[in-house]
Symmetry: C2
Subunit: 320 residues, 2 copies
């Protein structure tokens, strides 16, 4: 009835001095992606990053870390565990896993509690909820800096200095207006969506890779040096959704860029998640902020969360 | 991590002229209750109604209808289907099924979509959602008045006049204040809870049956003639919850009675669901009504829904 557009996300970093992850074979990434229930569609590379467009979202690989997003009924915690098993727990500097509360029970995939039980068989860590239980909220797992459970570590282990990326995620739900209509129209094209969102001018110098899914759905990866951004759209009427996330920071990611997406896509509700950077403040007056909160994880980084209602007509009933 | 206190509810009525349901054996009700994953704890009866207190909520049986509520990881759609199978679909005048969006994925039980698929193998009908997808919402199934699918009905079938009960449900989440503390304290007693809620004076003339669960939880059934009310409390810290529902109407159910529960239990959020009667209007000023909506089902009765935030400190993050 409802497509779960919101992505699960994993990010893993390896210890300084480890061989570059970008030297791992294409078959390795195929296997990793398949473990979550997705496939690689296409790839772009530059001097710092390999970006894979997936049948369900994206995978980015840098020398020392990976970040993978998958939507729908994928099981991304499988990929987290497989990555640790393949590389060896002693290689892992950090590991995080994030997922939004789903709209619907999906008996075929693990609950977050089951994810936690599954992941901590391989690496110890802690689970968090951010956001009110009765509204949009996100679950987060972060591995302990001490690394994996079950094996004693050598005391000569270097001090871990590699940290998760500082990221900004803008998750927009229930899109409205002409662009939302266009995403559902038969005349849409991949280039048309890119143009309508003005991505080429906003992200000049980025190399793009995008795909229009049949019958609906759009994914785009953009990379420039070690910076990435990615846009995913699932425009299905009952649960339309667009996500934008990036590791751009500071002057490269002004609040106006967030406002640009909000103005274009007119979401009824949206979440902003900023990791290791402050929440961007948007200026629109016709919003109701339902929920703003922050946590500092045991692994020592801050996560800030805001959930916003846009005023106006909301869709309250549905015949199923 | 979180106990799902909110009840699933079924209600079924039989055709006028059918034998009284109250003549069915105790073993019949045991089997029906067991099919959902619950047990009968105790019973009270009067001239119009048999009220069963269950290990997970309540069952009320009148001559021409039943209403059953079960919480937690029960599978109440099993009981709906079993009741129709045992009685024969041609006997059924109406059937409804209701469930709230759960906090957590529970892979062991059916999703509402799966419930719909399961139920409509036995009786045709339609599913509805009431409330915003991104906030508290409830799913509803109502059988078509035409009765069951699969078999042609005799054209001499009488016009169906029996309708679902006019009910009021007050569902209170995240209880605060001294009474919420008392529900979690080791010194609580069943009588103490009944007294603290002032139920004897509010519902004078009702026969009560109540049970305090170990280590936590409280259920109460009250009956007087064909009127019932029931209170269920699951006070667990992360997801405390109390429900009150009744078929009292008009002057017997003033808005002050709803306010009484809200003042006593100080819920952070609450839902009010009124079937075939208008939403009661409460006077408190410090509320934010997030959502008010109504639907008229194909079966021809109105369902009104209100979801309310109470202002004040809300619990936004949690370590799991």
């Amino acid at each position: 009835m409802v497509f779960e557009g919101s992505e699960k996300i994993i990010e893993l970093g390896v210890q300084p001095g480890s061989p570059s992850l970008r030297r791992l074979s294409y078959a390795f990434w195929q296997t990793l992606v398949a473990s979550a229930g997705a496939e690689i569609i296409s790839t772009v590379r530059n001097e710092s990053c390999d970006a894979y467009l997936l049948s369900e979202s994206s995978l980015f690989v840098w020398d020392g870390r990976i970040r993978m997003l998958t939507c729908g009924a994928t099981q991304l915690s499988n990929a987290l565990v497989l990555f640790i098993e393949k590389l060896g727990a002693e290689t892992i500097a950090y590991a995080t896993y994030q997922r939004k509360n789903e709209y619907l029970l999906q008996p075929q995939i693990r609950s977050f509690a089951q994810d936690l039980a599954y992941i901590t068989q391989t690496i110890s860590g802690k689970g968090y909820r951010i956001g009110h239980l009765d509204s949009h909220h996100h679950y987060l797992f972060t591995a302990n800096n001490e690394g994996h459970s079950g094996k004693a570590l050598a005391t000569t282990k270097p001090v871990v200095t590699i940290k998760p990326l500082a990221t900004t995620e803008l998750l927009m739900y229930h899109l409205r207006g002409p662009l939302a209509e266009y995403f559902r129209s038969p005349c849409q094209t991949a280039e048309g969506i890119c143009d309508a969102l003005e991505l080429s001018s906003l992200f000049s110098g980025f190399e793009f890779d995008y795909h229009l899914f049949s019958p609906l759905g759009y994914s785009l990866n953009g990379i420039k040096g070690d910076k990435y951004f990615t846009v995913h759209i699932t425009p299905q009427e009952q649960s339309s959704y667009c996500s934008f996330e990036t590791n751009l920071t500071d002057k490269d990611l002004p609040a106006e860029l967030i406002e640009h997406f909000l103005l274009k896509l007119q979401p009824e509700r949206w979440d902003l998640i900023c990791v290791d950077r402050p929440l961007l403040v948007t200026k629109r007056r016709d919003n109701t902020s339902i929920n703003t909160c922050s946590i500092t994880t045991d692994a020592g980084y801050d996560v800030h969360f805001k959930h916003v209602h846009q005023q106006g007509e909301l869709q309250f009933t549905q015949i199923i």
